[in-house]
Amino acid sequence: MRDISLHLSDIVQNSITAGASRVDIGFRLDENRVLTVSVRDDGCGMSEDLLRRVQSPFTTTRTTRKVGLGIPLLTQNAQLSGGDVRIESKVGEGTLIEAAFHTDSIDCLPVGDLAETMATLVLSNPDRPDFILTCTSPDGEMQFSTEEIRAALGGVSLAEPEVYQWMLASLREEIEPILGGIMK
C-alpha cells in the first residue's frame, strides 16, 4: 500500500465482514509525532485461537483461497517506521485494531487521502455500518459521523452523488488543518 489511508480502506473491510453496525476510526497524532490509527468495531469479534493466528498471511476467513494480506501488510508498514500493530477482540463484542506509526521515521508512510478513503467507505456501505472518524493532533480535533449525516438526510441514501461530494469536501476541509503536516 502506498499510504496509511489505503491500509484503512482495506482494514475496515474486516469490520464490515464481521457485521459491524458501528465503526470508530481514530487518527491520533501525539506530541512525540507518533500517529496511532485505530479501528474499533462492534462486529462478531474473533476467538482466541483466530486472534493468535490473525497476523499470519496464511490466515483468512474467505473460502476462495488461503491467503489474506490485509493485516500482515499493515503490520509490516507500521514496523518499518518503528511502530507496531495491536489487536484486541472478544467474540460477540467486537474488535479493536491499533497501528502506531512513528511519523518522523524516513520509512513512515504518509497518511494519504483520508477524506477520499472515508467518502468511498461510506459510498460503498451506505446503509450500515455507521462510521465515526476522529482526528486529533496538537493542532486540534475534528469529528465526522455518519450517524449525524444520516439523521440530517432523513431517508436520502448516503450513496447519492451529491451527498458523496458534500462528504468529501467537508472531510478535506476539516482533516487538513489537523493532519496536514503528515498527509503527503
Binding site: S9, D10, Q13, R65, L73, L123, E148, G154, P161, V163
Partner: protein, 125 residues
C-alpha cells in the same frame, strides 16, 4: 463537521431528483469495482472516486457505483464491471482514473464498450 444545514439543502435537491428518476423509469446500469486488498493496493479507490466525479459532472441518474471483494485475478486489478440494463457485463482491467471518462461516455452513456480496456483485449496480448 461542515455545516449540517447544507445537508438539508442537499436532502431537498436529492429528493426532487429521486422523484424525477422514479417517473422516467430508466433502467439501472451498475458499476462494480473490486476493492479487496489487491484492488486497493493497485489503485481502486481513486478509480471509484473518478467514477463518482464523472457521474456527478454528467448528472447521470440511472447509474450506481458499488464495490465488491477480490474477484480472483489480482494481477489484473483494478478491475471494474459495467453491467448494463440488458444484463450484459463487461469487465475492464488495469483501470486508471484517466480511463474513466471514456468508459462512462462510450459505454455507460452510448452503450459501446471500450474494447481496448476490456479483459478480453488484455488477455489476447
Amino acid at each position: 463537521m461542515k455545516s449540517l444545514a447544507e445537508l438539508e439543502q442537499i436532502r431537498k435537491q436529492t429528493l426532487e431528483r429521486i422523484n424525477l428518476r422514479k417517473e422516467d423509469k430508466g433502467e439501472l446500469t451498475r458499476i462494480v469495482i473490486g476493492m479487496a486488498t489487491c484492488g486497493i493496493a493497485a489503485g481502486a479507490r481513486p478509480v471509484m472516486h473518478a467514477f463518482m466525479d464523472e457521474l456527478n459532472k454528467r448528472q447521470l441518474q440511472h447509474v450506481t457505483v458499488s464495490q465488491t471483494g477480490c474477484i480472483g485475478m489480482c494481477r489484473l486489478e483494478p478491475m471494474v464491471d459495467v453491467i448494463t440494463p440488458d444484463g450484459n457485463k463487461v469487465t475492464y482491467v488495469h483501470v486508471k482514473p484517466e480511463m474513466v471518462p471514456r468508459i462512462v461516455a462510450e459505454h455507460v452513456v452510448n452503450g459501446r464498450p471500450v474494447e481496448e480496456y476490456t479483459i478480453g483485449a488484455a488477455e489476447a496480448q
